[in-house]
């Protein structure tokens, strides 16, 4: 299942490390990420670039740990834009993040089923 969305090497390591807790980790990621995407949208609407930067940074870290490479890259772009207080691109970037998260979500749920 190697593609630009998920890094299969990272997932293998995660399975090794988490063992039976692997599905719980996926569940936690999916639930936490929905909350984080909501925070991104909220900060953008409120025009709070520092809050947006921190939220993007934090989400980026989780995504990279979970092997969601493209999602992590998009978070990195948003973080950089927020640091430069360039919020003009932010709504478009957040839209991309939501779309990518939707794909990653489908892939993780499939992964979840496989390891039931």
């Amino acid at each position: 299942m190697s593609n630009t969305h998920l890094d299969s090497a990272v997932l293998t390591t995660l399975q090794d490390v988490m063992e039976s807790e692997y599905p719980a980790l996926l569940d936690t990621f999916l639930a936490d990420s929905e909350e984080r995407v909501r925070l991104l949208r909220q900060a953008c609407l409120a025009d709070q670039s520092e809050t947006l930067r921190r939220a993007a940074h934090s989400f980026k870290g989780s995504c990279s740990n979970m092997g969601a490479t493209l999602l992590a890259d998009l978070c990195q772009e948003l973080e950089s834009a927020a640091r430069e207080e360039n919020l003009a691109q932010a709504p478009a970037l957040i839209e991309s993040i939501e779309r990518e998260f939707a794909i990653v979500g489908i892939l993780f749920r499939a992964e979840r089923q496989r390891h039931g």
């Binding site: 988490m18 807790e21 936690t28 870290g61 990279s64 740990n65």
Partner: protein
């Protein structure tokens, strides 16, 4: 063998926290988790984990602030903090370091790298703990050592300051720790009026040097008080040190025998830098080392020859330890003899010399330098009153009536000094104790007159200048060595009653006699070196008679019983 540690994970993202704690727990460590900085600090206080994995950006309190507080709480103990951060932002990395971070680890987490870092930090921790333990141990030992030094010094000071170091004519500078630098300064007033000064410098430092100083001081003070000559004291000190010191230890020393009444100085310098005799007019004579230090040669091989110099009131004697010339400043330059001589040359008022040397040392070092001793004695005609050498016994004295007669012939004249033994006998008479100094002076004068002018036939007019002075003592030595016939008779008579008593001292010799009245006249002449000290004898005693042939003198001390 990896160690099991207790590790605090502070991370606000539940995914990362879960992942990290699983990795760390699987590696065998005990895991504590916190979701923000505030929680992390509280948990640290409660559980005292040994290592912290800290996310930088967290709500409530961020990782930087939490790291600062944890480092503060940890105090001396090393609690390594590894920051969890992506390594792309340089400014963030700097902030991590500033907050006390010890290392970083980037996401995504790699279990192998993580374990390697944890173990590396743990080794650092153990190293730090060992260093702290040893530091505390050293501090405790050092404190212990200082306490022991203080106690040893208190005991030693009782012995060392038994003498007259506090006399107004003596000035010295010595570090309070001098004893443990191996430096030793002693000064005693002898019963016959001389002042003995000893500056010693033991090889080595610390307790061994201080321990060697003890018997030296005891010997010096004990013998000086009993009226032994400086030669006897020197021989005894050398013998004692030779006996007790290990071969690599010895004591460089200068012994001064200052006799203001005779106007003479005797010096023995074994291994110390030149001392100086400085006349009131600024004339300077170096008192150079001519001997091996004390404790090196066997008693039989010791060269106990003192150098003789004339002394006048106002003359100054300066002694210094090698710490003065051999001290180095911050640039590792040697103070050196040249600098000292330059200070001596530049001096135009001997009274200010001591200050000038101290100032020169201060200027050179930029601070007080501790490992040196400097002492100055001003020759004063006044005799410092001695504390009584032995407390008077409490019982009432019984009446006494006795006499002893002593005849010293060539071999005994050569080798011995009968006066200390006589003094011990006279000290049995309680009523004499208060006048023992005067009696000893008189005995000393009479004995040296009888020996030098009578038996040896030396002419005191030789001692008219510094060269003559030296010549006189060389001759004395030669004639004494060559002496075959000749004697000195000494007789002591004691008679006491409940109302008082008297001591009569009679002395005669095998010499040709001399004109006593003329010698007494000469006392009032300008030549203070050539007198026979008779004027002094007459002044100190209560009665003074002589035989018409000038070969026998008689002196009396009388006293009334206390009311």
């Amino acid at each position: 063998m990896p160690m099991r540690l207790s590790i605090l994970i502070a991370e606000d993202s539940p995914v990362d926290r879960m992942l990290l704690s699983t990795i760390v727990a699987k590696q065998g460590h005990r895991v504590l988790t916190a979701a923000d900085g505030q929680e992390a600090v509280e948990l640290f206080q409660e559980e005292r984990p040994q290592l912290v994995l800290m996310d930088a950006l967290m709500p409530v309190m961020d990782g930087f602030e939490a790291a600062r507080r944890i480092k503060q709480l940890a105090g001396d103990e090393l609690v390594p903090i590894i920051f969890l951060t992506s390594l792309t932002e340089h400014q963030a990395l700097v902030s991590c370091l500033e907050a006390g971070g010890d290392d970083f680890i980037a996401k995504p987490y790699n279990p192998i790298i993580l374990e390697a870092k944890i173990q590396a930090m743990h080794r650092l921790r153990r190293l730090q703990a060992t260093v702290l333990e040893q530091r505390d141990l050293i501090a405790r030992r050092n404190q212990q050592l200082l306490d022991e030094h203080r106690a040893a010094k208190a005991i030693f000071d009782k012995v060392a300051h038994a003498g007259c170091l506090s006399a107004p004519t003596i000035r010295f500078r010595q570090s309070p720790q001098a004893l443990f630098n191996g430096d030793l300064l002693l000064a005693a007033q002898a019963p016959a009026g001389q002042m003995f000064v000893l500056l010693g410098d033991f090889t080595g430092h610390g307790l061994p040097a201080a321990i060697g100083a003890m018997p030296l001081a005891e010997t010096f003070y004990g013998m000086a008080a009993k009226g032994y000559s400086s030669t006897d004291i020197l021989r005894e000190m050398n013998a004692k040190l030779k006996q007790i010191l290990p071969v690599e230890m010895f004591c460089c020393a200068t012994l001064l025998d200052i006799d203001p009444k005779q106007g003479s100085l005797r010096v023995w310098n074994g291994g110390l830098p030149d001392g100086y005799l400085i006349g009131a007019a600024g004339r300077r004579t170096a008192l150079a080392s001519r001997h091996l230090p004390l404790g090196v040669v066997s008693p039989a091989a010791l060269d106990d020859k003192f150098e003789h110099y004339p002394l006048a009131p106002g003359d100054r004697l300066l002694l210094l330890s090698d710490g003065v010339v051999e001290s180095r400043n911050a640039n590792d330059e040697l103070f050196g003899e040249q600098r000292l001589l330059a200070v001596l040359d530049a001096n135009d008022d001997p009274a200010r010399l001591f200050d000038e040397i101290e100032q020169a040392l201060l200027d050179f070092h930029g601070q007080q330098h501790d490992d040196l001793s400097l002492v100055e004695v001003v020759v004063s005609p006044e005799v410092i009153t001695m504390p009584s050498i032995a407390p008077a016994t409490a019982h009432r004295s019984r009446p006494m009536d006795w006499s002893i007669r002593l005849e010293l012939r060539a071999d005994s004249l050569r080798s011995g000094n009968p006066l200390p033994s006589l003094l011990q006998i006279l000290l049995q008479v309680n009523q004499l104790r208060s006048r023992v100094g005067e009696i000893y002076t008189v005995l000393g004068e009479l004995y040296s007159n009888a020996l030098e002018h009578g038996v040896l036939g030396l002419d005191s007019s030789l001692k008219c200048d510094a060269d003559g002075f030296k010549h006189y003592y060389d001759l004395r030595q030669q004639r004494l060595q060559a002496l075959v016939d000749g004697h000195v008779h000494l007789q002591l008579n004691i008679k006491t009653s409940p109302h008082g008593g008297r001591l009569r001292i009679g002395i005669s010799d095998s010499g040709s006699g001399f004109d006593v009245s003329r010698a007494l006249q000469a006392q009032f002449g300008s030549d203070r070196f050539s007198g026979r000290g008779l004027h002094l004898v007459r002044q100190l005693s209560d009665r003074f008679d002589w035989q018409s042939d000038g070969r026998g003198l008689s002196v009396e001390f009388a006293w009334q019983a206390e009311a």
